[in-house]
């Protein structure tokens, strides 16, 4: 039984990071109707930044965490300014253009990462990496608790900000109908920039947490995480905040339990098996809604 509970904690921890990653993707999809293929690369830069700050500069973990968020946020700003906004300004661009543009940015960022950080896995030991304690029969890693606390805090803050604040409402309005938001007085361009930057910050935070969880970082986690993030928002329902959170937790649990009780070889594909199963039953995703067209 205690093994099950340990795995449950591991699964939720991993899942909470996935949720945070997917949340950024789903917010950007909401306001821009595009898949941000550069999200994984932004995530990876957050992770690398934290590792450099903590391991190379010897600064405390929280500084590394903040640094990772800030660098990712700045990359998000650059992404919006140079890759997304110029395309929105033009008339008659293909709806696929911003998607291709984000793929371009992700390739550029991955090459920069290779040049800056090399292609080896860099280990990431922090002051809390090796602290374990027992709660009855159950072994608990302190780092898992920290990750859980941080990612849930960010997720919950984001959730209530979206639900209850004036700016959160404006973001949801832009997400549902940019023209309507605009004639009600929302500067949609500002809201979009803000969304891309904060989604990238959240992605960077998730990157740092993954580096903490696995005690290492390499330049392949970006691509892997980007794809998982996409899988999660398809699973949860495109643009749905609840879907991103639920989908992330579900994927984290599934991966952990497959490794613990099944075959670790299935870890990377279990998510996609779940997606196929869910989409067969509910093609719009768990929390997805079908757009009703009114005449």
């Amino acid at each position: 039984m205690h093994l099950f509970i340990e795995q449950l904690i591991n699964g939720i921890t991993l899942g909470s990071i996935y949720s945070l990653t997917a949340l950024g993707l789903t917010l950007i999809f909401g306001v821009l109707d595009i898949l941000n293929m550069a999200h994984g690369a932004v995530f990876m830069f957050g992770a690398f930044t934290a590792v450099l700050i903590v391991s190379k500069l010897g600064l405390p973990l929280w500084v590394g965490f903040l640094g990772g968020c800030i660098v990712s946020g700045l990359l998000g700003y650059a992404l919006e300014m140079f890759a997304l906004r110029p395309l929105r300004r033009r008339k008659n661009t293909s709806p696929l253009a911003p998607l291709i543009s984000t793929i371009g940015v992700s390739i550029i960022l991955e090459n920069i990462a290779r040049a800056l950080f090399g292609s080896d896995t860099i280990s990431f030991r922090t002051s809390i990496s090796d602290i374990n304690f027992k709660l009855g029969e159950i072994d608990i890693n302190l780092i898992n608790l920290v990750i859980l606390a941080v990612s849930f805090t960010i997720t919950i803050l984001l959730y209530f900000w979206l639900k209850n604040s004036k700016s959160g409402r404006a973001l949801r309005a832009v997400s549902e109908n940019p023209d309507t938001a605009a004639f009600l007085g929302v500067n949609t361009s500002k809201v979009i920039t803000f969304t891309v930057v904060s989604a990238s910050c959240a992605g960077g935070a998730a990157g740092v947490l993954v580096a903490m969880a696995f005690n290492s970082v390499n330049n392949e986690i970006g691509l892997a995480m980007g794809l998982k993030g996409l899988a999660i928002i398809i699973l949860g329902g495109m643009g749905s905040v609840n879907g991103a959170v639920a989908g992330g937790i579900l994927l984290g649990l599934a991966e952990t339990f497959v490794v613990a009780y099944g075959d670790s070889g299935y870890k990377e594909i279990i998510g996609f098996i779940i997606i196929m199963a869910v989409l067969l039953i509910k093609p719009q995703g768990i929390f997805g809604t079908t757009q009703k067209v009114k005449v």
Binding site: R169, A173, A182, F183, L184, G185, N187
Partner: protein, 238 residues
């Protein structure tokens, strides 16, 4: 004078020149209606005034100020509110949240008091305030769109086809409300398919045909003008 003046306005919608040199004037505190057949360019004109479509050439002045190059979010800050065709309710938000979005541009402390007033004025919205707006009926959504526009405390409201798709009794109610809003000092520009209704509540009217103003005059006089009907049905005015 806080009039809305439009001068030789031309607008391209896609590749089509939807408006070709439209000139009109909406005087302060009047109700001015704009009638004409489908495709005459009425909605394009409303969207252009609201700042959603940039004009190709021509001038739009409000309160003596040029507003033709302003974005939609700047137009409403100048006191011009928009109730679009099809109502454009935010379906995934509650009735209350839609009304609060209406007050998005306001910073004052009376927003909550005004919200109470709207819910009192439109009791059906009060009983449904926590419901998702997408679940409302067409008539209720129209009330919500009007309430949302009022929440910005506008001086001028653009109404695009407020009666579209509604039952006759609901239409009566909507036109009563529009008259009330005007009597409270708000200038109104009204686009309507329902020519008779539009002319009966407006002071002045313009008839549009294929992107141009074909006729104009006092509404009461236009009511008996046969050519208005012809224009509405898409026939060439002689």
């Amino acid at each position: 004078m806080p009039d809305l003046e439009i001068e030789t306005l031309s607008v391209c919608y896609g590749h089509v020149e939807a408006l070709r040199g439209v000139t009109l004037r909406v005087k302060d505190r009047q109700v001015v209606s704009l009638v004409g057949a489908n495709g005459a360019g009425k909605t394009t004109l409303m969207k252009t005034i609201a700042g959603l479509i940039p004009p190709l050439s021509g001038k739009i002045r409000y309160n003596g100020m040029n507003i033709d190059s302003l974005r939609a979010d700047e137009i409403i800050r100048n006191g011009i509110s928009y109730v679009p065709e099809g109502r454009a309710i935010l379906n995934k938000m509650t009735v209350l949240e839609n009304l609060l979005m209406g007050a998005y541009i306001r910073q004052d402390r009376e927003v909550m008091a005004d919200l109470e007033n709207i819910l009192e004025k439109f009791p059906i919205l009060g009983t449904r305030k926590d419901q998702l707006a997408g679940t409302l009926s067409g008539g209720e959504q129209q009330l919500l769109a009007i309430g949302r526009a009022l929440m910005s405390k506008p001086k001028f409201i653009l109404f695009d086809e407020p009666s579209l798709g509604l039952a006759p009794i609901v239409i009566e109610h909507i036109f009563e409300i529009i008259k009330d809003i005007n009597e409270s000092g708000v200038t109104i520009m009204l686009v309507e398919q329902n020519v008779h209704k539009a002319l009966s509540i407006s002071d002045y009217a313009y008839v549009m045909e294929t992107g141009k103003i074909a006729m104009e005059g006092n509404s009461k006089e236009l009511l008996y003008e046969k050519r208005v009907m012809d224009a509405y049905l898409g026939k060439k005015a002689k």
